[in-house]
């Protein structure tokens, strides 16, 4: 589906030096914002996502209320300067679709029935982008929800797999995404292996799809552990509040 051919794999390694099943570097900071009820800054390689959570709070135009559950609003937004070409401010079709898919990714873990007639707002800003933004955003949002004290069944973890030079690999960066053959972002409740987001475009055989799902599953477990560790670190330090937690992993190049 993409432009001129670029060799994306050399000597069994990807252009940024990663192996096929290797995540980019991840960095997590919790409660980085004062005003939000919960927030999380999440780096995935060169992606920088900042999630802010507000709620549960009253919904203003009353006819938008749901009598039985809280209404979750998820807003994915790329900052105008986050990509090579300036993005015009305001929602576009892509961000509207991603926001819906991401809300569906998180919905299954939020105990919405605890707070009928309210809204829980999740706002994620993509400050810098390098492919995989929606997965970074969901990882950030999941932690920010927990940090905001929203009752949740579990955390959601997210990563994409793709195909480059005919190989199924984990966590495409922008060059790989632009010149690759397929991309499949996945979100899951790692502990129960429940998939809550699945999108795919490009071309996958059924077998490649299955390989991709396995890679994603494994990576989501890794990410889940990082998310959990970050939250535990934060809460155990909660006597001195607002101490940021830094979790590093992987060894990505960029």
């Amino acid at each position: 589906m993409k432009k001129e051919k670029i060799e994306l794999i050399k000597d069994g390694k990807r252009l940024d030096g990663r192996g096929f099943e290797e995540l980019r570097e991840i960095k997590i900071e919790i409660d980085v914002l004062k005003r939000a009820d919960g927030s999380c800054y999440f780096e995935l390689g060169n992606n920088k996502a900042l999630a802010a959570v507000y709620g549960p709070r009253e919904i203003h135009p009353r006819h938008l209320q749901n009598e039985k559950t809280a209404v979750v609003v998820y807003n994915y937004n790329m900052a105008p300067f986050s990509a090579t070409d300036r993005k015009r401010p305001g929602p576009d079709r892509r961000s509207v679709e991603i926001s819906k898919a991401s809300r569906c990714a998180l919905d299954p873990v939020i105990l919405k029935e605890y707070y009928p007639k309210t809204t829980i707002n999740v706002y994620v800003e993509l400050l810098q982008s390098d492919a995989g933004t929606r997965t970074a955003a969901i990882n950030a949002a999941s932690i920010a929800l927990a940090a905001a004290g929203i009752p949740m069944r579990d955390l959601v973890s997210s990563i994409a797999v793709g195909k480059i030079d005919g190989e199924v690999v984990l966590d495409l960066n922008a060059v790989e995404d632009n010149h690759g053959e397929a991309d499949m972002p996945v979100a899951m409740i790692a502990r129960t292996n429940t998939i809550t987001m699945l999108q795919m475009d490009g071309r996958f055989t059924k077998d490649e799809f299955e390989v991709g799902m396995k890679l994603a599953e494994k990576a989501c477990h890794e990410i889940y552990e990082l998310q959990r560790a970050a939250l535990i670190a934060k809460y155990s330090e909660s006597v001195n509040a607002n101490v940021n937690v830094n979790v590093n992993t992987g060894r990505g190049e960029e």
Binding site: K100, C104, M200, F204
Partner: protein
């Protein structure tokens, strides 16, 4: 009695029947409702197809117009897919700009077409960097009784076959060697399933859609490869369920392709 209460009763009804292995309209779990495809019913469109799946009806029209190429693909045509959930098609649809549902619908159909590479966009270049053909696929939902996606996707690929490029209308003269028909290289078909209380149902009708926690759309090509997947809905799915859904999706796509494309 409020609408919400009615909706709950219907959902319970769907659940209860499923427990005894039945769908509310008596179909098998992997059966489509009756499908019909009627082509070329809009004479002002370069291509069109009215697709009915049960009582769901979608009209898709394709228009071609010359336009300026994107700077990063100066030698390629442009594909634009738009969906309108017309308010006449459902009491739940409202007048207004596209919302997340119509945008998602358009983008699922668009990805199926685009990623299958069924249209050779390079053949749609008129003058590099200056002028290319823009293909507008417009999805017009007429009646929504569930599963608009599959109807829209089928309508899109059906209306793309046998398209004559309107060179004359725009005063474009063809060299002898050039064709003026749009050739289709693949036939992507979308198959949607829902998960309701552990059951996987192909082609959900409206009640099933409302009762379902999860929806999965699988777009696949003539060679059985996948060109798009989209999960929606506020529930989760097990990996095994997804594998089964993908498998069923590819199989049902083959049947539809055989019959209608």
């Amino acid at each position: 009695m409020g609408l919400e209460v009615i909706s709950d009763i219907r959902t319970d009804y769907v659940y209860n029947l499923l427990e005894s292995g039945k769908r509310i309209d008596g179909r098998g779990f992997h059966d489509y409702r009756e499908i019909s495809v009627e082509r070329d019913i809009v004479n002002k469109a370069e291509g069109s197809a009215l697709v009915k799946i049960g009582d769901t009806a979608v009209l898709v029209g394709v228009k071609l117009e010359p336009g300026v190429p994107f700077p990063d693909t100066p030698d390629r045509g442009i594909l634009m897919t738009n969906a309108e959930l017309r308010p006449g098609a459902s009491p739940d649809f409202e007048i207004g700009p596209p919302n997340e549902d119509s945008i998602e619908l358009a983008r699922i159909v668009d990805r199926g077409i685009r990623e299958s590479e069924t249209i050779d966009l390079e053949k749609l270049c008129i003058e590099e960097g200056e002028k290319v053909w823009m293909i507008f696929i417009d999805i017009h939902a007429l009646d929504n009784d569930g599963n608009l996606i599959d109807a829209a996707a089928l309508g899109a690929i059906a209306s793309l076959s046998n398209i004559r490029i309107p060179n004359e209308r725009y005063g474009l003269v063809l060299e002898e060697t050039e064709e003026d028909t749009l050739s289709i290289r693949d036939t992507p078909v979308a198959v949607t399933l829902v998960e309701v209380e552990g059951n996987l149902l192909v082609d959900p009708n409206l009640y099933e859609e409302n009762a379902a926690a999860c929806r999965l759309t699988v777009s696949s090509n003539a060679d059985g490869t996948l060109s798009g997947i989209q999960k929606s809905g506020s529930g989760g799915l097990k990996k095994e369920q997804i594998s089964e859904m993908v498998e069923i999706g590819i199989e049902k796509a083959g049947e539809i392709r055989e019959k209608f494309l």
